[in-house]
């Protein structure tokens, strides 16, 4: 089962993702895609680490090439988040490349090797601000990636100020 959770900033996406995997009895992996660059990233990583404490997740830091990961049988994974993954694949090696294929290939591969996958992504296209060409491309790529994941995911949920809105499939918690 693959579940995609989207929404804006600090709207309870991670808490919901963890809650969905609460009842899972096998090994649970947390795939952290945020690279620890800058003070904000450190704060966010620390905050999420504290949130997950005692919930039985084994953390894997993997910023690109998710297809290289392999998982033991009957395990679950929480991937956080597609926004970071998209930026990491897009701005790797100091040049801007289209990240769509790499991101989707990685996520599909994880989705096929775990029995339960929860993916956290972001809504970034709703502020109406005119950004630089690179940022505009990032917004477009992330939108396209989200649409593709939503296409093959069993469940799609949008979080609004902590309230889960079911867009596809069912909410299992």
């Amino acid at each position: 089962m693959t579940t995609l959770i989207t929404g804006g900033s600090k709207c309870g996406k991670s808490s919901l993702a963890e809650r969905i995997l609460d009842g899972f009895h096998g090994r649970k992996f947390y795939i952290a895609a945020m690279q620890p660059f800058g003070e904000d990233a450190f704060e966010a990583i620390e905050r999420h680490r504290k949130m997950r404490q005692g919930k039985g997740f084994e953390t894997i830091e993997k910023y690109t090439d998710l297809h290289e990961l392999s998982f033991p049988a009957d395990s679950a994974a929480l991937l956080e988040c597609v926004g970071n993954l998209c930026a990491n694949e897009m701005f790797r090696d100091n040049e801007v490349v289209c990240p769509t294929d790499a991101v989707l290939r990685g996520i599909r591969s994880v989705s096929e090797s775990v029995s339960e996958l929860v993916i956290v992504t972001n809504q970034v296209g709703s502020d109406g601000v005119a950004y630089s060409e690179e940022t505009s491309r990032y917004i477009r790529y992330l939108g396209e990636i989200n649409r593709c994941i939503a296409g093959f995911a069993d469940n799609v949920i949008e979080c609004v100020y902590g309230i889960p809105l079911l867009l596809k499939g069912e909410l299992s918690c």
């Binding site: 929404g7 600090k10 709207c11 309870g12 809504q123 709703s126 601000v129 990032y138 609004v160 100020y161």
Partner: protein
């Protein structure tokens, strides 16, 4: 407590006036009211702007508001669905609005999301 959210200019205040019977004189604006006025206001509009003015203490204040003014109607824009701002203070504000919104939504018996003037009850039942 009732929460009305959605993007800017989606008809949140108009819906509150029409469907909840909120009158002008019990409305305080988050842009200008004092924290104490918010504690007794029947309706607070632009709560995201009060969050901006409260700064670090905003989540504690919001939790207290949910207890002391538990019958209030809170109108608050949904602002987090864009690119992470370059400016640190804007990033902090945006995240604070998210956190305070989660507190208000959790304490509300009804949450309504307005899109193009059309309300959807995303928690509880519409009056």
């Amino acid at each position: 407590m009732i929460m009305i959210t959605g993007g800017a200019y989606q008809g949140k205040a108009a819906w509150a006036a029409e469907r909840l019977g909120i009158s002008e004189n019990c409305i305080k604006s988050g842009r200008s009211c004092t924290p104490e006025e918010a504690m007794t206001a029947g309706c607070i509009t632009d709560y995201q702007e009060l969050v901006r003015r409260l700064g670090d203490g905003c989540t504690d204040f919001t939790s207290e508001l949910c207890i002391r003014n538990s019958s209030a109607v809170i109108i608050m824009d949904e602002i987090g669905c864009g690119i992470v701002p370059m400016e640190k203070s804007e990033r902090v504000w945006r995240e604070n609005v998210g956190r305070c919104g989660c507190i208000i939504a959790a304490n509300s018996e009804m949450v309504v999301r307005m899109v193009c003037g059309i309300p959807t009850a995303i928690k509880g039942d519409m009056p």
